[in-house]
Symmetry: C2
Subunit: 710 residues, 2 copies
């Protein structure tokens, strides 16, 4: 790629970012957009819909930037929980390492690369087409001693990242522990989920659980709640909700309200249809109530079991309960709001098989997704495009158009395809047998990350058939050599990728295009009394995105340091924008207390090892075999460091220690409200579809004024 | 290899076996050999040394075979514990699968192989030299539909083995649980070992442990015993033991006793030297006593912590104690007799690093051990031998000698080399940080197994340099193809290996050559009052040996079914001989309650998957690519089956379930002796080097009659 193409791409994206920022600065102040840009504030009641017009509303102001900048970590913690803090720490962590790598890369490596003249020997025409390569390691002469500078940079930056990773893991562990210490008594600390409960011939599941746990934990067992199969009721409840929405919409429809005194007939028809719907709603609710009270409500082989102390619950979780390890499987209960009710696979075999099936499906999806990516890769090649669509030749010969096509279009299309991936992966995770939203998102987060690495990184490097990619991966000996050829060749593509995908994604995150458009369309049909739905932060979409850009930065910093300034701009934008979104838009749906950090850590370690493998290949290709050999201890040391971190920190993210649990339990002993808390525990975990529903009575409440009106 | 060479080898080994059996049948009845052939009975006092001579003693009698045959599993359990039972189950398991595979192989596959005429096309001279290959799959025509018989055999035998593995795992799990239920209260069920105890500024380690565990487990904590650094005392105690032995030897030496009334001077000199040694012994013992009582006896950062109930100990084991997971690491305590006192690495980092170092050392040892093996491989090649040692040409031209050299010598030399491996691996495991003899042997067992698979199986297949072997392993795609060429080519070598290594090792196990020779030499110097040392069974030597022959059987059964009769003879011999040895020779040194079975299970699964990989290669090489493809689901299913077994059974071998622990604890509640048991717990775990030593007083006791005699 030539420099001007890159500049075009940068230009377009800068313009887009400025446009988004400006639009956001104006639109956020319009009351009609409050639901899009600050639903959180609206729901909390701190922001009121002001209908009074003033001029200030039309002038873009950067006040929100300053507000986001000033937000302290403690404030963020209270706003979005530890998960929000971990997300922001990931961005500041990336900022730190890429600032360091940027200083090394731009001040040391870039001059060395430019100094070389490997590429001067090549055909001049070809050189002009690849002018960006002058800034990459490809330009350093083979066997040159200047390559030792790159070698040292690899060692120094790896060391820096590892040290930072260690302290970051330590810091987040301590935050997690102190978060636990400062928390109020929470139901999920006192509860475990038991699965694969064996059916006894006599008595219900509940009696079975009661007798089993009373026998094992007589001093700490409190009670239990058996989970019921509620698929049918759930669908009825959903139907009732839809009907209720329709009825309220019909009632409050402003266009109809106006016509009220117009056509009596039309009004009568409307009333008729309202009555019809209400009748239907009542029928359904009667049905639901009947089904809920049915004695034959099928019990699932799973139950929430409550304990008198956190330590008691943890003991029951850690022990293997039954002689048969596939029965009475225990898990920590998720927070009540975090439970994923719809899919409660409770038997050991069903969970295991569904997990296996999903792993296979996920792998197939990841691998076969390549086909559209390969087509996208074809688009970057102008001449191929002209052959495929000859009628485009005239348009493509315009310099500006051709630059857009080569520099911008490919990654935009790729980006659109990738938009589909997080929801698909979330769906796959949800049927894998996880019992909480947080686990589903964490699993989806990993899936999306590997998906992105495979389908964007490897597919771009070895652009071609699936078989050629698999053959590269299945040949570990040849991997460094093949990477050494492929990785520098795609440097310009990934620099553009950072600009297009990174910058655009983060500024569209600010502008929230899709919710904005949806709001624009649906606004006439929603009443202002509707409850504002505050979205939760899509960790499974955004963590992989940030981590993938981190992977690009780490693998490319010594090959093509030019990528680093663009990355730094991305992370600065992300820093401000995500903080702003945490303040205004998202409210936490659950609290994992930092369980996303191990994902971040593992991804960083993978990036480092990948970078080392590439370095081995590059130094060998550059005929500096000593350097190539001396790199080999580095991945070994990195993996040992990772292993140490796994032993030192990972257990903290799995379960709380006996020491902390006892400490918290002792505090409770002096607490007078704990007895009441124990009594309420049973009510904490109620299947929402078993709660009594009261829509029809609500509509009745609504009806009376209508009737009096009529 | 030609048939006559195999027959020579079989002939020699049959003769050797008969010789060993006959010699054993005679020698075991000589009272002087009781210490070799029935030390266990001697120690138990059930067998007395009869000095009365009778003719029956000189006639070989097979009574011991009948006795070994009649031994029931319950008797074996009471004799050698569950570990002995597991070992014998491994042999009966092998007998079962190879009887089945033998029926399939000899009745179905062998005729199919002989029917083919692939090898008839080859040069006749070459055919004569490879006449054994007529019985292998190599003789089946390429692309022949008869290969589907082999294909079906692979599926059927895999299925049979997996079903049997499942029921065997289930049976041994149930034995383990019933063994636990029927056991008396045992100290190690009430005890955990705590490592990496942090040093507090105030107070000793013991106080620190006391306060920590009293805080966490107030209702179940009992007491603790801190481990001390006793390396110096241990060496002193050993020295004292040696001296004591010397003194008692000097006193009771019969050659000297006779001379007592002979030379007064010599007698005086003897007495002088005895006194000198006694003085020295007393000094050392004084020193030991001083060191033992020293207040400054260095405390290690490890302690045994005792609990009032099994459940309490298990809870403490399962929980992560401290906020920092690298401190207060808990392990189940081994049995008191099983503790490996000498090497108590107590800090997390030291254990981790020593483990890493040992893994590296072990891998290097395994890989570089190849060099002698390659030399041995050279010996099988007659022409190469004649080139290397021209003076041997005349001897090697004798047919009998050449047959011995090709058929027997190579595996004998290999066998001698391999004799060194188990002790080396046991040593390596002992410095790896394990705290019990059983863990050391289990780890050594795995090491020896992998060592054997790599150095005997793979090295024979790809006989050549280490690099060529590594390149084969590092190229997963090419592996089946290379195995398909190499494995059938070595069929005759491995058939001979079964005969020489298998038959010889098991009959020499019966005859116990080395202990017999040692006994023959040292007999004049040992008094009959010496305590008989009963050896413990070397699981880490014999389990890998049996498993490796199982691997050969599984991988070769469909390639060269001729191996199966020889294997069956081996397992029949092993069945009788090991039972006999469990009755007469070995006494258990520890009881892992069946923890060796997972090793056996894993090895069988590995053998199956290896067999499948070979089958994929063979069918591809035989131009039956459909069969080659259809084999691929088989390893996947086998690995899934293994994964299921890991989830279903493995946890039972790691720790006992809460259900079983509570059941046992409840039983104790009615037991009146349990309080006394609790009081004695502290004394159960005493470092033997800290026990008071009383050698010198013993010698004094010995001295008085001597003085009165003088």
């Amino acid at each position: 790629m030539i420099v001007s193409a890159l500049l075009t791409s940068v230009g377009i994206n800068t313009a887009l970012c400025v446009l988004f920022f400006t639009l956001y600065s104006v639109l956020r102040k319009q009351p009609s957009n409050y639901e899009v840009y600050s639903p959180r504030l609206l729901a909390e009641g701190t922001s009121k819909r002001r209908s009074r017009f003033n001029l200030e509303r039309l002038i873009p102001s950067p006040g929100w930037v300053a507000k986001a900048w000033r937000l302290s970590e403690e404030e963020l913690l209270s706003l979005s929980g530890l998960d929000g803090v971990v997300f922001m720490r990931m961005i500041t962590f990336s900022l730190k390492i890429f600032t360091f790598a940027g200083i090394v890369g731009i001040l040391v490596l870039l001059p060395v690369n430019c100094w070389g003249n490997q590429l001067k020997d090549i055909d001049v025409a070809d050189f002009a087409n690849n002018s960006l390569d002058v800034f990459t390691i490809s330009n350093v002469n083979s066997g040159s001693h200047w390559l030792w500078v790159h070698f040292s940079a690899v060692y120094i930056v790896t060391g820096f990242i590892c040290i930072l990773l260690f302290y970051e893991y330590k810091y987040i562990s301590s935050r997690r522990i102190s978060y636990f210490y400062s928390s109020e008594p929470q139901p999920h600390h006192f509860t475990i989920l038991v699965l694969s409960i064996p059916r006894s011939s006599s008595g219900s599941i509940s009696d079975n659980v009661e007798s089993f746990f009373k026998e094992l934990y007589p001093s700490t067992y409190l009670s239990n709640v058996v989970i019921h199969r509620t698929r049918k009721i759930r669908s009825l409840v959903n139907e009732a909700k839809k009907l209720y929405k329709r009825v309220t919409q019909l009632r409050s429809d402003p266009t109809q309200q106006k016509n009220e005194h117009g056509g009596l007939l039309r009004n009568f028809g409307r009333k008729n249809s309202i009555e019809h719907y209400e009748k239907k709603l009542e029928d359904i609710e009667e049905n639901v109530r009947l089904k809920q009270s049915e004695a034959s409500l099928a019990e699932a082989r799973a139950a929430f079991v409550f304990f008198k102390s956190r330590f008691g619950a943890a003991t029951a979780f850690h022990m293997q309960q039954s002689v048969n390890p596939t029965q009475w499987i225990t898990e920590f209960a998720p927070e009540p709001r975090d439970v994923y009710w719809p899919f409660f696979s409770e038997s050991f075999m069903r969970r295991w098989i569904s997990k296996l099936v999903i792993v296979v499906v996920c792998t197939l999806y990841t691998i076969t997704f390549l086909i559209p990516v390969v087509i996208v890769q074809g688009l970057t090649n102008l001449s191929q495009l002209e052959i495929l669509f000859p009628f485009l030749t005239s348009i493509l010969s315009i310099k500006f158009v051709s630059q857009i096509v080569t520099g911008y279009l490919p990654s935009l299309i790729l980006q659109l395809f990738l938009k589909l991936v997080p929801p698909v992966m979330e769906f796959l995770s949800s049927i894998q047998g996880y019992i909480s939203h947080s686990d589903i998102e964490k699993s989806a987060c990993n899936k999306v990350l590997w998906f992105t690495i495979w389908n964007v990184f490897f597919a771009t490097l070895f652009s071609g058939s699936i078989l050629s990619m698999l053959s590269v991966i299945l040949d570990p000996k040849g991997l460094p050599g093949k990477l050494a050829v492929a990785v520098p060749a795609q440097a310009s593509f990934f620099i553009t990728y950072v600009v297009t995908s990174g910058w655009t994604s983060v500024s569209s995150e600010l502008f929230l295009i899709i919710p904005f458009i949806i709001n624009l369309i649906t606004r006439p049909f929603t009443s202002s009394d509707d409850k504002v739905e505050v979205p939760s932060f899509p960790y499974h979409r955004d963590i992989p995105r940030v981590l993938f850009l981190g992977l690009l930065g780490i693998t490319y910093f010594f090959l093509a340091p030019l990528i680093l300034p663009f990355l730094l701009i991305y992370f600065c934008l992300a820093y401000i924008i995500y903080r702003n979104q945490f303040i205004n838009v998202y409210a936490p749906r659950y609290e994992t207390a930092g369980k996303f950090w191990p994902v971040v850590h593992n991804s960083m370690i993978f990036s480092l090892v990948l970078m080392h493998i590439i370095a081995v290949g590059i130094f060998a290709a550059k005929k500096l075999s000593l350097a190539s050999t001396l790199i080999i201890p580095l991945p070994v040391l990195t993996l040992l460091f990772n292993e140490y971190c796994r032993k030192r920190f990972l257990p903290i993210f799995v379960a709380y220690s006996a020491e902390s649990l006892i400490k918290k339990d002792r505090e409770d002993e002096n607490d007078t409200t704990i007895a009441e808390f124990h009594d309420n525990l049973v009510n904490a975990y109620k299947d929402p579809s078993l709660l009594p529903i009261r829509h029809s009575s609500n509509t009745e409440g609504l009806r009376s004024p209508l009737i009096s009106q009529a």
